[in-house]
């Protein structure tokens, strides 16, 4: 199986954590960018194509859930995986109801994370494929006949 790299955006106010996790993900072949706040995350999404956002729930300023809402509003196809400390698992489930793909508890198991990243990337990929097909069908209809 060829591994398809995912374009991942890591969002957490803990800089050291973001740095090390980025390096590790890069090592396993993902394309990684980083942001250290909800606002920075949204700015990045404006300028870069991202497949999956890995988002910490507890952040100062705009917290994880607020950021998640904005992402789903402005970039609905981008998948989100939430990272939670032990006390906020209920919030994580709430987040899933708001559209997050899944969640992990810190400190997260790397294999679990890569598995979920792959799942999220696939889901986005499949949705984009469906959109392409739908657009193609639309085009055919518009031009009044089959090709």
């Amino acid at each position: 199986m060829i591994k398809i790299p995912a374009r991942v955006l890591l969002v957490d106010d803990e800089k050291d954590f973001v740095e090390m996790l980025s390096l590790r993900l890069l090592e396993s072949g993902e394309k990684v960018s980083a942001a250290y706040s909800g606002k920075e995350c949204l700015d990045r999404l404006e300028n870069t194509s991202i497949d999956v956002v890995v988002l910490d729930i507890k952040m100062p300023g705009m917290d994880g859930i607020e950021t998640l809402r904005e992402i789903k509003k402005r970039f609905p196809l981008v998948e989100v995986i939430l990272l939670t400390g032990h006390g906020s698992t209920e919030t994580a489930v709430e987040g899933m109801k708001l559209g997050a793909f899944d969640y992990l508890m810190k400190p997260a198991d790397f294999d679990d994370l890569t598995a979920k990243l792959e799942g999220a990337r696939k889901r986005k990929d499949e949705q984009e494929e469906r959109i392409r097909k739908a657009e193609a069908t639309l085009l055919v209809r518009k031009s009044g006949g089959s090709f």
Partner: protein
Amino acid sequence: MENICVILVDDEDDFRQTVAKRLIKRGIHTKQAASGEACLDLLKKETVDVVVLDVKMPGMDGIETLHHIKKGHPHTEVIMLTGHATTQDGVDGIKSGAFDYLSKPIELEHLLGKIRQAHEKLVREEEKRREAAFRAKMEQQMIATERLASLGTLAAGVAHEINNPLAIIKESAGWMASILSKTELADIPRRRDLELALGKIEKGVERARRITHQLLGSVKQSDSLFSEVDMGQLASETVDLVRKEASNKDIDIFREMDPAVRPIWTDPYKVRQVLINLLTNAVYATDRGGAITVTIQPADGGTAVAVRDTGQGIPKENLTRIFEPFFSTKPPGEGTGLGLFVTRSIIEKLGGHIHVESELGNGTTFRFILPGRPVMSDMPDPDEHTQVLKKVFQKN
């Protein structure tokens, strides 16, 4: 029948003996004294509820005797017997602390009535003292509980904070491991040493993670969270928590699990709390080199757990009292006296029951049974603690 103890004090032997006989016939335990000094001597040996005291006696008179009684035995009521037409003595008596007085010749019914009244007063005062002590303990307990609660919150906060650096350590070590596995590093010297160290780091992080998760898990107490619980595993985890303390006293802990035990639906946090209470009690009660055995068996569609220790045992008279709030055989300051009270209330709320078997010198076994499925009521009933507190403070 009330258990009233009286000393009848009068130098007139005939009078005294007649009255005493009639009081005894009416169910009052009556002792006699022929003088003030004799009365005080009697009181030194045992306390009584009421002293019926003649005012005019040779030697130490009634009022003097009254003073001594009130000084040495403040919880004994005194009824003065005055001579005919000497009400001043009676009034003086009351001013000096007597409950009341009767003028001779006395009618037995009047005397009985006064004795009973005096006794009632004593009972009421005793009750008031006990309530005040209970309330004081309650307040102390509330303070202790609040302190525990804030410690719990503090501990949870710390655990939470620690998770972040743990995550960083984990990622850093993991990254190093993945670099090591790359082909360009295949032949580096001392590869084994690096791999060994990385392995230890990962193990250490995993252990720390388990601790913080357990700590955070045990702090969350607000609602009952029912789930499927494997009692064997819960027991093992809890035994691990207590093992360090036990090994300090060279106490072995054994776990015997019947293979027929099935998981039950219950609240794992609360059951863990119960197990911790029973295990720490067992460790406290057991001497060096003793043993504690935890047995888990199926029972009535649910699961029965027994914690047996080889400790000192519980005396028969305490066996019914150990589940009472604030009952404790530990020295003051150690323990809250609430452990077993809370334990029993948890077990009963979860639909089960708990009992104890013990023999002095032969150890103690606590056994609780939990149903396979909880029996839940529609109304969420308020916390038992809150109910007791409400009762106590409503009295004011």
